[in-house]
Symmetry: C2
């Protein structure tokens, strides 16, 4: 750096969002907002900063450690939110009467965690959460799955939903009397693929103290989990396996209802699968849990997860407010689409560029640009009259496919030209009154430039 | 609070955004993004947190004092951004080559200032900035004014733009030799209305040391500023008044060109006025400056201001990057529309509510809701079958105007009903295949519910 200058740099673990990415991200968020609205979900917002006591101890020891926490000018102990769930709980506890129940909300906003930066993980990232608060209806569970599928569908992402119900897992734990070793059994369910049957069996016996019959029940469950049977068949088997547990039976019935409702949203077959291995954490979820697989890139893990919980606001209020919701992993999806080269690399939202021949052409060029904008075509107007070659180069670099040419010749003739900046093809002598229609025709009938 | 509970509260000077406000704000931001895109402006984003050295000393002593500044887990001295201009300068200095010039960007994002909270002022608020960087073209100035007018127009706000050029003010200062007293002369120009002619004259004489001829020149300028003459006439007068100053003459010529360009954007007459009293701060702007008046509520002050500056990045880079841009005062506009009772008070984005008679009707009700969503009508599906009265009350409270009724009678007949929740009017026996078209007809031909 030259003397006296400040080095322009961002903090470790943070990043700027440059035009190409910002345009795509903005498009994705607009799409999601449209789908959320179509399901009657309303946006809300909460402050980035909260009293530290609101945020502390709500996630894990890890999230506490990762808090950006400090003392403000008024001596208050405050911190940046690390997720959107804790602020939602605070928000709902504070405004429950005003909001009315059931309350459907979405919230797309940044959160901050002082994590160790690593590839694809940042200290500031956008969360995209949606929830229905204040209803225990299983129809709400189905609405959430319908919303997830509609959202990903609108983003053009082929996806498969996988559901389970925590009551079934609890029923399994009751059936094998694994109260004290629930974590171990859940780990077995979750990690069988990774650990292998022998390791899991040994763990259940030695660390969990399960006997052979109990282990057999766990493995009957794991076998069902791995089977190719239809959800209807698996649920019938579970009725038998968990018959002694009222909890388990309720879970099976809830899933049966969910599959029935979900089929009305077009969710059946590979679009909605029963996956008995999904547990999603020990403490939070109490009913349906779900994950979502991106068909083109399943290895990246779930791109949208969530479930039903018994009480959102128990830390802030004596009122009981159950809910169901989920979170779309925008960054994860974004990374996958980037890897699949499905992201647009344009750095301008403009579809058309208006090139200006000389200063005498400025007035006419403004008029052309304005008519294109009014016809709904995002248009960039060249700010410098002069060399058309330089102007075309600028527009092409920005990914703009079409240029309208307005130079002295055109001004005198009362016409303009159109050039395809990808192919170089150029058409002249288009009337000024017809240019908007000509551009509309090219943008709708030709492949996207 | 009950024992053991944490009081749910937001920090002083912060606020939650509840559904009615969030829906309107979201609609406004979507509208602005659409207009910005139509002019070829791209979104960008920068981190909320920056190194403190990036932000300190860039605004005023006041903004330094108001910084939310702290030390992070890695011992870094960091702070939350207090505006979007300083991060833009850092961003452009860091990425100039990648961005290419001219670079048109907008940025709509929260900023934080630990100000003394007062009515209508918050410690977290959204800024909405747009700029064209890297061009000195006066066409850029005109594009910015065109963009402002298109933006406010799309928001349905009757507005008047007022422009001046800092070169004219500098020319006046040169003409009266007021180098050391520039602040005083600018204050006279800016505050004549408030202070009155005698106070201003006395200040210029006693504090500024101006003689009678110099004071007469200042007052000739002030008289021009207050006159009803057309911009063309005022600019002609200024040519004479500032003839001895090359700077002043350049400013007059720049405004002449700007008015010519702006007329191509439909900006003339009361839509674009010359206001010689606009100065907008001493240090930052160097060319055109503008403010915008909301016709229905001029007293709230400028709802969009900005101008041209010589160099955005001088603190971070030796490169010279001029620019022109502005900032829309979303909060101010929002407050005004609230006061004018022009804001929608609905708390749901849904236009239609689907009421469910009993559990046997759930499948059919989902199917109706999905068909309405696919027809483009945001639809809320009742999660609880049962009393229609309670369901209607819930929907009406949310501001949803229409309810589709699907109870046992309708299910058996294969039909549904539609009720206007404002008027109570109800129509029955609508076919299930015709319901989407019926809702479309009602929403487009009837006044907005």
């Amino acid at each position: 750096m030259a003397k006296g200058l400040i080095e322009p740099r961002v903090l470790k673990g943070f990043r700027d969002t440059l035009p190409a990415v910002a345009l795509e991200r903005s498009r994705m968020i607009r799409t999601l907002e449209g789908v959320f609205s179509s399901f009657g979900f309303t946006p809300i917002d909460t402050p980035a900063l909260e009293y530290a006591e609101i945020l502390l101890g709500k996630g894990s020891e890890e999230t506490d450690r990762q808090l950006y926490r400090f003392t403000d000018q008024g001596g208050r102990d405050i911190a940046l939110r690390f997720d959107l769930t804790v602020p939602l709980a605070r928000f709902v506890a504070e405004h429950a009467n005003e909001l009315g129940m059931p309350f459907r909300r979405y919230h797309i906003a940044p959160v901050w965690r002082a994590e160790k930066p690593q590839r694809g993980r940042y200290r500031e990232f956008i969360q995209c959460d949606f929830d229905i608060i204040g209803s225990e209806s299983l129809l709400g569970d189905a609405e959430v799955l319908g919303l997830v599928s509609a959202s990903l569908g609108k983003l053009g992402i082929d996806h498969e939903l996988r559901v389970n119900n925590r009551l079934i897992l609890n029923g399994l734990l009751e059936t094998v009397n694994a109260g004290g070793t629930a974590a171990l059994v859940l780990r077995a369910v979750d990690k069988l693929d990774k650990l292998g049957a022998e390791v899991v069996k040994a763990e259940l016996r030695e660390q969990g103290g399960l006997d052979d019959a109990q282990i057999a029940t766990v493995f009957a469950y794991l076998a069902l989990s791995a089977s190719d049977a239809t959800p209807t068949e698996v649920l019938r088997e579970l009725d038998g396996l968990l018959a002694k547990s009222a909890t388990g039976t309720a879970g099976v019935q809830a899933l049966r209802t969910l599959f029935a409702h979900a089929s009305e949203y077009g969710l059946a077959g590979r679009m909605l699968q029963l996956d008995l291995s999904i547990a999603r954490g020990l403490d939070y979820y109490t009913g349906m849990v779900f994950e979502t697989r991106m068909v083109a890139m399943p290895a990246i893990g779930s791109i949208c997860s969530g479930g039903r919980y018994d009480n959102l606001v128990n830390l802030y209020s004596n009122r009981r407010l159950p809910g169901v919701g989920g979170s779309i992993g925008l960054d994860r999806i974004f990374g996958a689409l980037e890897e699949l080269k499905q992201l647009d690399v344009r750095t301008s939202p403009a579809q058309v560029f208006v090139a200006v021949g000389d200063d005498s052409c400025i007035a006419g060029a403004i008029s052309i640009a304005q008519s294109l904008r009014q016809a709904g075509h995002p248009t960039e107007l060249s700010l410098e009259a002069g060399s058309l070659g330089a102007q075309f180069k600028y527009a092409d670099r920005r990914g703009i496919g079409l240029a309208v040419i307005f130079g002295e010749r055109e001004r005198l003739a009362g016409t303009c030209g159109v050039k395809n900046l990808k192919t170089g093809e150029q058409v002249n002598d288009i009337s000024l009154t017809g240019i908007a229609a000509e551009i509309t025709r090219r943008l709708t009938t030709l492949p996207r430039p």
